[in-house]
Amino acid sequence: MSLPIHRPAPKVPQAARVERTTRQAIAQPPAPVLDGCRLALQKIGFPGAPSLGIASSIRGEGRSTVAVASALVLADYGVRTVLMELDFQNPSLASQMGIPSHPGLGEFLQGSASWHEVLYPVSDEFFVLPAGTLKLSHPRALLEVSNRDLLGVLRGRGCSIVADLPPLLGTGIGAQAASLFPDILLVVRAGMVSSATVKEAVSSLPTPPRVLLNGVSSSVPDWARRLAGL
């Protein structure tokens, strides 16, 4: 089964059409990030698991970058992957991937755009679904995603889904968005968020997530480590 991906639809702006047809090379995350995400996905059960939500306690923990890297890793395995933007307050995937920010999920939910128009191909196995322009409230939009079983539709078409979720704290919809996904990978920025904050964020989830620690690279130079016998 293949996705209904076609060439640009008439509603797509000219500039966006150019990007979609040329499939510009995106700025990939560094190789160590891809490797770290690959190992984390293997531990969770990918490739093979249907969908994964990438969450974080607060903004700025590297969630979107991890989402992109995870999607790239899955696509690299040959899995048809859809990278979905669910962080409606601060969508960043479109600019990160070099695709138009709309039409996207918002237009699809309103019925003003079809799958053809909102799924942007980055490679043969990798598509991006941007947030688009939402006219619904964010909780309502998430409810629509759930009610229409959009994730099930995509999975039914042979796609794995990686979603960039809103932060669990401070947005009001983080937990609601996370509840759509059976597997949650929680990005924790090392040395930035207190364990109490992370615990508070985790308490809003129905099941305990797996944790991907972002920024474990040490700031201690090698000479100091040798000196301290570490």
């Binding site: 531990k43 970058t65 040395g191 968020v193 364990s195 991907l212 474990v216 201690v220």
Partner: protein
């Protein structure tokens, strides 16, 4: 340990601030100090130091004398220092003088410097170091080249006078003693000779007849006593002459405690980084390091964030999936 190191290198700029501030404060303190000039003299020590080297003994002697206020006052008064301290109210000049004047409503105190003032001033500004078995370097710090050099010269002069006096005083006491003994012996000899004369006057026949004189036991006793008194007198006279010769000016030069090989120089440049200044900077650095260490300990104690995968399990009770190098939001 790892956590301390991580915090140290993560907040290195923040932790460097107390050190920088403390060193800058110490440097500012050094800069506002009054100008300082150092005059140095080198001495060749002539005396033996007993179990110590001669130079070490001389350094100890200088330090002992500097610890006495009477010596310090004599040094100050025989050089230009006393006048300077009198005019500046204890040697407070420069920015500190201005601060002192402002705190006293614009008036600086002046008048004769007390012995305490002289003592504290000199004890902080004179250093003596043994630079060889018999060579001592004496450095005097002063507010002007003239005062530094003049005080160094005065110090050496007073030092010489004290040490010569200390060495010559026992000899003078000996001389007085022996001179007294000589006087007594002279009187005894005069009396003995008088007794012999009286006896001869009473027995005129003894003068003409030597055989008779030899057989006169009383006469023999008197002449024997006079002869012994004469010998004792001669011995005492010799001793007195010897002591007098030792104390004579020619001998004093021979027993000079030290020879000034390098006279106190007149410094031409200010000495900004003397012992006091280096100690001030070191104290500032140390204080800054202590504050930084306390801050570091506080940072580590207050840091409740997650730093490694082990802490994901131990602090969050969650299963770690892995880790990646630091990535930030685009």
């Amino acid at each position: 340990m790892t956590r301390y190191l991580e915090s140290l290198f993560s907040h290195k700029l923040f932790l460097a601030i107390p050190v920088a501030v403390a060193v800058l404060a110490a440097a500012a303190y050094v800069i506002i100090q009054p100008p300082a000039y150092q005059s140095t003299a080198k001495l060749w020590v002539n005396w033996s130091g007993g179990t110590q080297t001669a130079a070490d003994a001389q350094v100890a002697s200088i330090n002992q004398l500097l610890a006495t206020k009477s010596f310090d006052v004599q040094v100050a008064q025989s050089g230009p220092l006393a006048k300077y301290l009198d005019s500046t109210g204890g040697g407070v000049t420069g920015v500190r003088s201005l601060i002192a004047a402002l705190s006293k409503g614009g008036h600086t105190s002046s008048g004769p410097a007390s012995a305490d003032t002289i003592f504290s001033y000199l004890s902080a500004r004179v250093t003596s170091v043994a630079v060889g078995p018999q060579i001592v370097s004496v450095t005097v710090t002063g507010p002007t080249p003239q005062i530094a050099q003049g005080t160094a010269s005065a110090l050496l002069n007073q030092l010489r006078a004290y040490e010569i006096a200390a060495r010559h005083d026992p000899q003078a006491a000996q001389l007085t003693y022996y001179q007294g003994q000589l006087k007594l012996e002279s009187a005894a000899l005069t009396a003995d000779l008088g007794a012999v004369q009286q006896y001869l006057a009473a027995h005129p026949g003894l003068v003409a007849n030597s055989t008779l004189a030899n057989n006169d036991s009383q006469y023999a006793l008197l002449t024997h006593q006079a002869a012994i008194a004469g010998q004792t007198y001669d011995q005492l006279l010799t001793t007195v002459n010897q002591i007098e010769n030792q104390i004579a000016p020619g001998q004093a030069q021979q027993s000079d405690p030290f020879t000034i090989t390098d006279s106190p120089n007149r410094p031409s440049t200010q000495s900004r980084f003397g012992k006091k200044e280096v100690l001030g900077l070191a104290a500032g650095l140390l204080a800054g390091l202590v504050v930084s260490l306390l801050l570091l300990a506080t940072l580590v104690r207050l840091d409740a964030t997650i730093h490694d995968l082990d802490e994901v399990l131990s602090r969050l009770d969650l299963e770690p999936a892995g880790s990646i190098p630091l990535v930030r939001m685009p």
